[in-house]
Amino acid sequence: MSFPWAKEYTPASGFTKWIDEKLPLPRFVYNAVGAGYPVPRNLNYMWNFGVLAGFCLVLQIVTGVVLAMHYAANAQVAFGTVEHIMRDVNWGWMLRYMHANGASFFFLVLYLHIFRGFFYSSYKAPREMIWLLGVVIFLLCMATAFMGYVLPWGQMSFWGAKVITGLFSAIPLVGEPIQVWLLGGYAPDNASLNRFFSLHFLLPFVIAGVVILHIWALHIPGSSNPTGVEVKSESDTVPFHPYYTAKDGFGLGVFLIIYCVVVFFLPNMLGHPDNYIEANPLSTPAHIVPEWYFYPFYAILRAFTFDFILEAKLWGVLAMFSSILLWFLLPWLDRSPVRSGHYRPLFRIFFMIFVADMAVLFYCGGAPAEEPYVMISQIATAYYFLHFLVILPIVSSIEKPKPLPYSITEAVLGSDKKAVLGENTQPAT
């Protein structure tokens, strides 16, 4: 579906007409990211991160495929082949640093994209499916990144794999067999490394598939916008191309500048020195920490230190998985008919507290497992769950939102004389 005023693709030459009859791929692209996709005219720069996340995925696949040509997934030589890439492969150091930091920037972009969704309630009807698919993409990215971090077979790779697969051992009765089954042994070894490599190569293509579904689902209701008021007339939209291709082009430039500063000048800033020590099952690092993008969830995992009916470790594992899985429920937890946080004064306060709470969890996840960090992360963890599962549903039903603009055009230009699609500021219930 698209808006009735969407431009139609008209093949200009005989050749493109011929193509359009046999396989209308150019038409498909035109309608997806070309002039055939009308987009709200008032998107701010927070709407750049979807395209940037797509760019990161392509970047990771391209650099990753070339790295895989020089890497060997064998516990005897894996660490050495990474050094071979760094020293002897032409531009190998650049490919590896682009890929390793690419993962970090991918997550940075994903977090901004997700938090955009939190603030503007992008998960609300009619866009629930886009949101659900987005959470699936995020989970797949986490699995892919985790397995990718194991491949260099450094100390953090090995011990990270041991800790993360060890989480499954907290499950009563079947936990230990599941861990052994996942690792292909009692500890991370060649079997684990091989399967992680295989899956690390496969999953990005699964992600690409879900991304296609994500974008497909997006094109049915069309993009949301900062007012949260649905599109009513042609004057509310501009064609994706050239307006948003130009805006995304500029955004991509800014992104690449920051990314390249890190790749070329601070390539190990986001990594951990211990991963330049080859994996050694007999020597445990003083602090085992995951990559920075897992810190908040790692903090939640470690916050549960008290056996209450269940073992503390099991609480931690349940809480960590729930902390992300609960995002699936968001469309049904937040009942406010108003989407945009700009018009929700009470929600906005709690959103700010939530952002601060996530920042605290980030910090505690990277800190050593000692006081006061554990106590701080326990408070922050409690707030995390209260925010989504208790505060958000209550706020959304008691809050009195500010008046919404009549239309996007009115919000941008101050008045709108031509709105035609009628009253549709209320999402379907």
């Binding site: 501009v238 991509l252 070329f264 609960l326 769950f385 599962l389 208790v390 549903p393």
Partner: protein, 290 residues
């Protein structure tokens, strides 16, 4: 219904987290906070005076220094530490000619196979060989060193926080625990029970303060530098720290030089993209009210 179940789940998770918090707070209030010597008397690594030549985004190698560092490694460190990711051919990057590299490699014995008998033996190194390890295997390394295996040094400066500074600080940081003080506090007064076990050596830059490596750089002139530089302990430490920075990241300078080119291009392209965006949007942006 979904909201009621969710709220209950949220209250349970938050409640258990808070229980853990109160439990932790109770423990923190009732138990003496533990403090340890390695926590309080550990020193942060620092670089040599004036820093290294490769510090900062425009830093560059000091080739003469890297050559001196190679000499320190060859004559001191290599007795115990391997450098397994560095090949002799790499030394051409340190300003040596092909012939010099060949001659240097030939002075090292590397593992080989006797062509007549097929038995394991050693042969003079070739430029394509890697620096040989001082021990045939980890067991031999542990046996010869009081069970502490000397780590490979190829990546040492990337395998520690502030690695170059760390290597320099560690090599110049051996001191006597009896007189050691930090911020005006004496170690032996704060922790009278502190001891350095036999076979270990006190060094405040090392994680737990007691290190299995004996001070390797002890006397001025321990190494004779070919360029006439006076071989003081700090000088040798600085040079070998610089050399190990090169072994860990031989493409460091190439990387930064590439980076400057990339950034100039990106800045130019982004400015163009900005004006393109501005021009395209000029027609639909509301006019600013003056």
């Amino acid at each position: 219904m979904i909201r009621i179940i969710a709220a209950l789940a949220g209250l349970v998770f938050a409640g258990v987290a808070l229980l853990a918090f109160f439990n932790g707070a109770y423990t923190a209030l009732t138990e003496e906070p533990q403090h340890s010597a390695d926590h309080e008397f550990h020193l942060e690594a620092h670089g040599p005076k004036g820093g290294f030549s490769f510090d900062g985004p425009t830093g560059n190698w000091d080739i003469a220094q890297l050559q001196r560092g190679l000499k320190v490694y060859s004559e001191v460190c290599s007795a115990c530490h391997s450098l397994k990711f560095v090949a002799f051919r790499d030394l051409e990057e340190l300003g040596y000619s092909e012939a010099q590299v060949k001659a240097f490699a030939a002075t090292k014995q590397v593992p080989g196979i006797d062509p007549n008998t097929g038995e394991a033996t050693t042969r003079p190194g070739e430029p394509t060989d890697y620096f040989p390890s001082p021990y045939p295997n980890a067991v031999a390394a542990a046996a010869a060193n009081n069970n502490a295996i000397p780590p490979d040094l190829s990546l040492m400066t990337k395998a520690r926080h502030h690695g170059s500074d760390y290597v320099y600080s560690l090599l110049t940081g051996f001191t006597d625990p009896a007189t050691f003080e930090k911020d005006g506090k004496r170690l032996m007064e704060e922790f009278p029970d502190f001891t350095t076990p036999d076979g270990l050596y006190f060094n405040p830059y090392f994680g737990n303060l007691n290190l299995a490596m004996s001070p390797p750089l002890v006397a001025e002139g321990q190494v004779t530098f070919d360029d006439g530089t006076k071989a003081t302990v700090p000088q040798m430490a600085e040079d070998v720290a610089a050399f190990l920075t090169w072994t860990a990241e031989p493409k460091l300078v190439e990387r930064r030089q590439t980076g400057w080119g990339v950034l100039v291009f990106l800045l130019f392209a982004t400015v163009l993209a900005y004006f393109a965006k501005k021009q395209i949007w000029a027609g639909v942006k509301p006019k600013k009210k003056a």
